[in-house]
Symmetry: C3
Subunit: 245 residues, 3 copies
């Protein structure tokens, strides 16, 4: 669809691997990835509530990036972390949609055409009526509970290696005394495990459970040369307790 409307536009596929309904995971992957991507028109669609009440929206970020997707929070985590949403519109102008709109494939019929027209130079405001950026749907990112000697964290997403990203930074780990080299007790699904805090996997042995800062600045849990999510039967939303061992 994009290439029919804007044949010279270049398309970069960040991922088609977000599981259905995982809006938060889609939002986080977008927020993690965009700082490394060229400025462009960024389309993100996860569970758009097709036929339901999620408005299709287009946003302009303060850094020049444009965003296209459903108003379900998938776009705003990234936009907010890159300076905020400057302008927002509802995509409503049918001249920038496919002639015949299906009820279940708005990615093809609404979002892709809108992004292609934006990439071709159509002004955001042409797509539809302005929305208040403050009134866009925003996801509740779970906050960690950081006690004096224990942290209650949540799995935000699991990558294809089985590494588990937590809603935690290394600053929060340090507050309970977990620094690189420290031993860590973790509790997942009522089971306890012993892990090592490390800067890199090279500092631990194969099979060790590792607590480390991942490439996006988040604390993550992994098994060196293994599959942590598989071993812990952990999915997004899983609670993980961490304390110095």
């Amino acid at each position: 669809m994009i290439k029919r409307i804007a044949p010279d536009v270049e398309i970069i596929d960040i991922t088609h691997g977000i599981p259905p309904q995982h809006v938060l995971q889609g939002a986080l992957v977008l927020a993690n990835t965009l700082p490394y991507m060229p400025v462009g028109v960024h389309v993100a669609i996860v569970d758009p509530g097709v036929g339901g009440d999620r408005k299709p929206v287009a946003l302009a970020g303060s850094d020049g990036r444009l965003y296209v997707g459903p108003d379900n929070g998938v776009l705003v985590v990234a936009a907010d972390s890159l300076g905020g949403v400057e302008r927002a519109v509802e995509i409503a102008n049918t001249s920038y949609m496919l002639d015949s709109i299906s009820r279940t494939f708005h990615g093809r019929d609404i979002f892709s055409p809108a992004s292609a027209h934006l990439a071709s130079g159509v002004a955001l405001e042409e797509l539809g009526p302005a929305l208040d950026p403050g009134a866009l749907v925003r996801l509740e990112l779970p906050a960690p509970e950081v006690g004096s000697a224990r942290i209650r964290a949540t799995a935000l997403y699991v990558d294809r290696f089985g590494n588990i990203q937590l809603n935690l930074t290394s600053h929060e780990l340090e507050r309970v005394g977990i620094v690189p080299g420290a031993k860590v007790e973790i509790e997942i699904r009522f089971e306890r495990y012993y892990a090592v805090a490390a800067r890199t996997f090279a500092e631990v042995r194969a099979g060790d459970i590792v607590v480390y800062e991942d490439a996006y600045g988040n604390v993550a849990l992994a098994i060196n040369s293994g599959d942590a999510a598989g071993m812990f039967s952990a999915r997004v939303g899983q609670e993980v307790l961490l304390s110095p061992a």
Copy 2:
């Protein structure tokens, strides 16, 4: 291979996800997708019967599209639905093939080079001797049996969400009285289930079985926020009975 022969050609990968031997599924995905794609040279290869008796062919459709693939039916469903095959040739001219042809990877050695040469402007007739378009292999698409109060349908393919596309249009559903909002009894593998006919998933509850018209105009079976194919252990070719409940 394509980029070596035609460096300026743009390649759009519709899918590499058709399971081996699923020629019908490949043919249907191509037919569903092409109406939304730019006119171009369309290569489709599923189970080319490598080393066997399937001729490699190139076709010209009446709408200007060109097709390259094995003569096993994978191309013709799309071409016929877009106005028909105007000209056909057997790909036989070795000057448009890789120098050394392997016995098991004709996608690399025959089909990709042929498509690259066509995209670079080589005339269809240069590739080899003309074939009668009417003599190309055509797939038998299973027809539904529509009775007075019951339909016997067949699963044509299953998408990555587990939604099951049937060989059925909403007109046929209406003939047995199934319209949006109606309750539907379905029978799969000798088990009965109750479903709802709906325009969109937003009209039903999570977990409901839904009978709906999909984005390609076919009737499909889904579970809202679930995996219908997994739940029904249904694959392509599965018989599905539908009647008003």
Copy 3:
């Protein structure tokens, strides 16, 4: 990252499907594929021993190809088979890296930027100090044992169809009398099976076990219309015995 540094560069994704830690498989896929690819800057990253002692390297092959990746052997099988490594450098110049280098994602922070700069015309020697091409890490490719009537081979990799590539050429098969049409006894994991040596799958029946020369000139093991690796529970490194039956 590549597109930010070199917006006009064209990226061809050979695969993102090499399983973690399968350096040999990555090296073989690269060596099998490159002869059919345009000359370019070839980036290959499998298990880069991030944070460990694997140097990031860039190589120039004698045919004009450039290679970027970790010094763990993943690049050199391809480069050696295409005429050898002419020059090698350690990637050490931080002006050609991302400003802030993470400890666990050198693909993004070191290898992609280096490849983008090379593709934009930066000289190999700009990236860092020269290395002796002869001192690069080289993988031990397992050699087959060819007896008078029996061959002991090893599975090098398994493709997505379940076909098993062996470390064997058809010349070695001929030395024990296995030629197309011959019956073959194979032994895998202490089980014996009967296979047929064939030029193409069209020469055997569905369900037959086939020993054939694959599209890269290696002997492979397959089940016609089936999944050999699944049936034999065979992975990379699996020993396979072959003898005339």
